[in-house]
Structures are given as structure tokens and as C-alpha cells.
């Protein structure tokens, strides 16, 4: 049994907006004599859009109608109808995520692009998606290496450290190619971002909006950016300005890193260099890429060539956001797709095989999610127990049912995400407690954290698995 799911990825970045379609193939890898084990066996990008500039209008807003027109046009060119897409993600990244109407545009667009196209935002997710989209995850697994990927776009540099295929750390810096904009014909400086302005002032450089841009004039800024990036991967002592340039957090530990790769628009200038006008894109992206190539970074680490550079994030959004649940799961039908459900995760200390302990922990945490007395729909997440006994499953189920009783009474579906393989038995136990007519979704083999959101799509593979997108929704 092989089945192909069509997925769309849309990336609305600081400088560019892109779209891709990819085919995700799933297959039952188990023999006929065991329970099914359905896994993703292949991901293939089947269509790549033009790379368009992200349309920004007055008042620091994104031009939603222009983006919708772009998306519509690309669907038409690809010959794909919106109804055909089964999954996918729209990600709003870099500086664009800070625009006033970012959330509004994102939600409108995810609905516009297809029924189960999910809205995502957040610097950590962006770092992970870019690294996966560039094939760095496979590289680090195949070569048993620890790779740091720097996705340097227009507004931010998203860092992800991958160790043997697993993401172990992420970070984000406000460094990008489009933080200084230059007029394409008369070469005057049109824009300097606030943090770069601060840097210029601190250093006492004479660089202002309206001035004629030359390579010599802007070289100190670009070199300083490179210094900060070096600091971010731990090859140089951190300066005072490092804390300022961090978006929300930097990398924690750099000792293990042996390899480095670059993605994002700036990466092309790093890997291929560039001839001619450095301001051809109306920004300092090419200068930054060239400065990185000359920097010590290339000597201190083994350079990895990513599969994607400028398209890493969009490929990641289209091909690497959708996971599939374990194959022995429990759900009642007709409630899919479920979108934007916040995750309530129990800590391992709270997660004892003890009904009242689980119930109390859940009840306490549920209050975190109550915004203005509005009871939200919440997914309860726990690690579960490896090879749990039947009685233990009953106890956990009773704890969850009790902890979520108010939400159950309010008629919300009971959504439970468990890491270890026990969802079918747990779901059955829950059903026997809350009754046959209450909607329940209980899935396993999915790892989530507090602060994550989950989207669950229509069942695939003859109903045996559910497509799941774990994501963040962070707007600055």
C-alpha cells in the first residue's frame, strides 16, 4: 500500500514570498502478519514558484491581496486546485512576522490555500523548518555529524543545531540582508532597521538614510554582522551588542558543532559568490554573503552544501511540517480537520500512574489557557509509559478524563497526544469512561512541548493514521 499526499508550502519572508508543492508518500512498512506501521517514505518537491518580493504597504502592513493573487497565480501555473492539497503550511518569517497585520494575513492565507493548510510562525520553528528543508537533518544523520545551519534571510538569521538527525538547539538573531535597503538605480540608502541603526550609532559610523551607498561605506556594518554571527556559533567571545542583536534567544552550547551550512537568500552569495553590482537586489545581502565566505567560519568548520538555499524555508514548510501519527491510534470521526489547538503538556514529575495526581495537574494547567473566561479547546499531552500494563492505561485514562471533565462537559472533543505507543488502548479506555458519543482523538508517536500548537487533518492510509502538524504561533 502506497499513498501520496499533496502538500503545499508557502513562505512569506522579510524579502521574498515563495510557494512549493510536494508529494509526501506514505507506506505501510509492516508485514501482513503484524499491526500496521505506516511511515513517510518519500518527499518530493514537484513544483517551485517564482520568487516574488513580499509586498509591504504603508503603515507597516503586508499587502494581503497581492499575496493572495500571487498564490492564486502559482496554483494556476502548477495546475493544482485548492481542493487537491491535503496538507501543508504557510509560514510567516523574519521581519514580516512583526508586521501589524501578520496574524490576520496568515490566517486568511491558510484558509485560502486549502482546507488543511496550517498557519505557522515563530523563530524556532523557522530555524527547524529551514534546516530540514535544506536536507541538513539527513546530512547530519548520514554523516554522524553535528551541523549548525544558519538560515540568513532578509530580516533574521535562524540557527539550528542538528546532531545525528535530531534538532538539539535553535536560536535567532536580527541579522539579515535586507536590514539596510538601497535604491536600485540611484543607490541611495533607503532604510536602516532600528537595531542596525543602534549599532551604527554605538560605533559612531557616519551612515544615514539618504546617503549614497558604496561598498566601502557599508563594509564595517557587514563585517560587524559577520562578527556577531561568529559569536553566535561560539568561535568568538560574545560582545555587549550580541545580547541586543538576539531576537529571542541564541544557541546554548556550541562545543559539539563540527560542520556548518548556510541557507536563505544570503547563502547563494556565500556558496557561489557574485559578480557585478552588489546592490542589484537593493540590499546588502550579497555583501553579507561575500563577507561570510571570507570569514574564518569557512576554515573553522567543515562546510556542508545544503540541498536548498533561498528555498530552504519554503521547502521545509511544504515537505517537513506534516508528520503522521502512530498507526495504532483511536479517533471518532467527523471532527477533522482540527486546527490551532494549544498543547498542555504534563511534566514527567506530574505524570505518575496516579489518577488524582494526573487530574490535579491537568486542572491546574487548564487555567493557563483560559483567556478572559473563554474556555479553549486544548490537547493534553503526555509521555505515557513504554509497555504499559492494562491497569496502568486505565489509571492514566481516568486521570485525564477527570482533569478534563469541564471541557468534556462543555462538549469539546477530548484530544490526547502521547509519545509512547499506547494511544489505541488509551483511547478505548477514555471512550469507555466518557461515553460512546463524545468525540475523542488519541494519537501516539508524536512529540510536543508546552507552547506548541497542533493541527490534525483527515485520516489517510485507509483511516489508519492521521496527518499532524506540530507548530508554534509566535508573533513579535
Amino acid at each position: 500500500m502506497r499513498e501520496t499526499i499533496l502538500s503545499v508550502g508557502i513562505d512569506i519572508g522579510t524579502s521574498t514570498t515563495q510557494l512549493i508543492f510536494s508529494n509526501i508518500t506514505i507506506e505501510n512498512m509492516a508485514s501482513n502478519f503484524t499491526v500496521p506501521r505506516i511511515v513517510i517514505v518519500d518527499k518530493e518537491v514537484i513544483y517551485r514558484s517564482n520568487i516574488a518580493f513580499t509586498p509591504i504597504i504603508e503603515n507597516n502592513k503586508i499587502d494581503q491581496s497581492l499575496i493572495q493573487r500571487f498564490v492564486e497565480e502559482e496554483y494556476r501555473k502548477a495546475g493544482i486546485r485548492k481542493e487537491d492539497t491535503q496538507t501543508g503550511a504557510v509560514i510567516i518569517t523574519g521581519e514580516t512576522a512583526r508586521k501589524e497585520n501578520a496574524e490576520e494575513v496568515l490566517n486568511a492565507l491558510s484558509g485560502f490555500a486549502g482546507e488543511f493548510v496550517v498557519a505557522t510562525a515563530g523563530p524556532d520553528l523557522e530555524s527547524i523548518i529551514a534546516a530540514k528543508g535544506a536536507g541538513i537533518s539527513e546530512y547530519s544523520a548520514d554523516n554522524s555529524a553535528t551541523v549548525v545551519n544558519l538560515d540568513i534571510g532578509g530580516g533574521t538569521s535562524n540557527l539550528a543545531v542538528l546532531h545525528r538527525g535530531e534538532v538539539i538547539d535553535t536560536g535567532c538573531l536580527d541579522i539579515g540582508g535586507r536590514l539596510i535597503k538601497v535604491h536600485r538605480t540611484n543607490k541611495t540608502i533607503e532604510y536602516i532597521s532600528p537595531k542596525i541603526q543602534q549599532m551604527i550609532e554605538q560605533k559612531g559610523w557616519n551612515i544615514q538614510v539618504g546617503q549614497q551607498a558604496t561598498e566601502a561605506l557599508l563594509q564595517p556594518v557587514v563585517d560587524e554582522m559577520v562578527q556577531l554571527l561568529k559569536q553566535s556559533v561560539g568561535v568568538q567571545e560574545k560582545s555587549a551588542f550580541y545580547e541586543t542583536i538576539i531576537t529571542h534567544k541564541g544557541l546554548k552550547d556550541h562545543k559539539q558543532i563540527t560542520h556548518i551550512s548556510f541557507t536563505g537568500g544570503v547563502a547563494d552569495a556565500f556558496y557561489h559568490g557574485a559578480a557585478g553590482d552588489v546592490f542589484i537586489y537593493g540590499d546588502i545581502g550579497i555583501m553579507l554573503g561575500q563577507a561570510l565566505a571570507k570569514s574564518k567560519l569557512a576554515e573553522l568548520f567543515t562546510i556542508v552544501k545544503p540541498k536548498e538555499t533561498i528555498r530552504a524555508t519554503v521547502v521545509g514548510a511544504g515537505s517537513h511540517t506534516t508528520e503522521i501519527s502512530g498507526s495504532t491510534i483511536f479517533y471518532t470521526d467527523t471532527i477533522f480537520p482540527i486546527k490551532n489547538i494549544p498543547v498542555l503538556k504534563l511534566t514527567s514529575a506530574e505524570e505518575q500512574i496516579d489518577e488524582s495526581m494526573i487530574a490535579t495537574a491537568i486542572k491546574e494547567k487548564v487555567t493557563w489557557f483560559e483567556s478572559e473566561g473563554d474556555r479553549q479547546n486544548i490537547a493534553v499531552s503526555l509521555q505515557g509509559k513504554k509497555n504499559a500494563k492494562f491497569q496502568e492505561v486505565q489509571t492514566i485514562a481516568a486521570g485525564i478524563a477527570k482533569g478534563m471533565e469541564e471541557s468534556i462537559q462543555a462538549g469539546y472533543p477530548l484530544i490526547v497526544i502521547v509519545e509512547n505507543d499506547m494511544a489505541k488502548a488509551l483511547g478505548q479506555a477514555l471512550q469507555s469512561l466518557v461515553g460512546k458519543h463524545h468525540n475523542i482523538v488519541c494519537i501516539d508517536s508524536i512529540q510536543v512541548e508546552n507552547g506548541d500548537y497542533i493541527d490534525i487533518g483527515h485520516p489517510v492510509a485507509e483511516g489508519s493514521v492521521l496527518p499532524v502538524v506540530i507548530k508554534t504561533l509566535v508573533f513579535h
Binding site: N32, F33, T34, V35, S144, R164, T328, F330, K386, N387, A388, K389, F390, V393, D421, M422, A423, K424, A425, G427, Q428, A429, Q431, S432, K436
Partner: protein, 305 residues
Amino acid sequence: MVNETELKSLIENILQDMVGKQEQQPEQVQEEVVAQATAEATTTASTTCTVASDACLPDITKVDVKTELLVDEPYDQEGYLQMKQKTPARIGVGRAGARFKTATSVRFRADHAAAQDAVFSYVDEDFVKKNGFTAVETMCANKDEYITRPDFGRQFSEEMKQEIKAACGTPQVQIVIGDGLSSAAVEANIEDILPAIKQGLQMHNINVDNVLFVKHCRVPAMDVIGEVTNSDVVCLLIGERPGLVTAESMSAYIAYKPTVDMPEARRTVISNIHSGGTTPVEAGAHIADLIKKMLDKKASGLDLK
């Protein structure tokens, strides 16, 4: 020479010393006791050989081979261990000259012994009684006959058939447990898999009350039970031929209206049910759904696809 009583009192003394050390794990305490007792015994009888009859060596079968790397100075220890996580095969065992290390060869023999025990031992009668199963047996007189005459393991005497009929009646779904080639599998899994199946079926208003336990059971014995009880679905949970990875693996053979001499293709099989494979509770929940599907589609095995 320290005799048994002396050694016992030694251990008692040490245990009393340790009452205050409650934070310690019981195994730890035990280990320490044995170590101390041995040490003291050795000092009191330094020239003679000591027999510590109550002491025991650590159980080598408790070591998880997936986390045990025996290669000396591995080039990439983390990578090796990661590889070992993916397979129960005995890789990364190192060597002593051209041979296995002692730990590997002893473990191999221990696992082999467990496999043999699983075949040649019987499911405890108390276990059958405690769970309220109706105990019946095939035509095999003993284990030897069970091993050498597979045909007897799939037949019941007329009296037995009457007994089965009396005990079961004609339920919609008949659950049968068979010792098969691993009694250890039955005792390890049944108490988790059976309630999971029952709970799943109850959701569909299907009750399974009378569970049969068949001694000296081969898979096709379920066909006879199907004919005798006239059930729609018979589900046989049977111990699998043990291997060196586990002796506790169980299979479920499920068929819609099984009949004697029916094609094997009519059986649906869920194998590899044990703590390291498909866990018994998940397998049970899955089997319940499978049985419901068979009842709805009136088919099993390849016909169910």
C-alpha cells in the same frame, strides 16, 4: 568453613545495620549484603573455599542487550549504541581472540535456555483458574507427543468437544488461549491483552465471557472450536515458537467462521506481541477493532482486504 546458618545470621546482621539506609533501592541493598557477607565470609575462612548458598549472581538476562556495547575502545560509541537501539541482534559484542566474550556466550546460552523452558514448561494451573478460563486439552498425552505429533495438537476428543460446547454455548466471538510453543508468552501477556480486547469489544456491545484455555494447542485447534461453538469469529491467542530475542512472544490468529481444513489464507495474524514488539495492550485494542471489522465484512484473512 562458614556454614549456611552462620552465613544467614551474617546476612541478618548486615540487614539490620542497613535498616537506616531506607533511601537505597532494594536491589542495591541486596547486592551490598551479598558483597559484605561474601567479604566477611572470606575473611573468617581465608584459606578454605566458601560456599555462599543463599547468595546469587546478578541475573544476566536482565541486561538490555540493546544498550550493552562490548566493543573495547569503539571509534564511535554513540553511533554504535544508536545502531544497537534499532535491533535486538547481537551486534557490537566485541571479541576475545577469535571467539565471543564470556558475557556474550553466557547470555546466548541463557537466552537459549529460556527459549527451551518456554517450550517445555506448562502454563501454571493456578494462572488458568485465577483468570477464570475453562481449561481443555487436545489429543496430545504429553509435551513429547505435542512436539512430535502436530496433528494431535489440532484435534479434540469427543468428550472434550462436549465440554467446550457446554462451557461456551454459541457466542458471537469466542476467545481462546493456547499454550502453543511458549507457555511463558501466555503468562507474560494474557493479563494485559485480554482486558484490552474485552474493553474494545464492549464499545461495540460485544461481550466475551467464556474464555477457553487449551493445553497442547496448535493453531488449527481453533477451527474445531469454531465448528463446535458455531461462533462468528474465533480469536486464538497462542505462544509463538520462542527465539533468542524473546521467549514471550505471542500471536493472535483470528478467523471468521473457521472450519476444519479451511485454507490458511482465511486466518488473519497479528504476531510479535510482547513487551519489546507490539505491546499487549495496543495489540488487544487493535484486535478488538479487527474482530469488529470481520463481523461487519463477514470475512477474515486475505478475504478481508
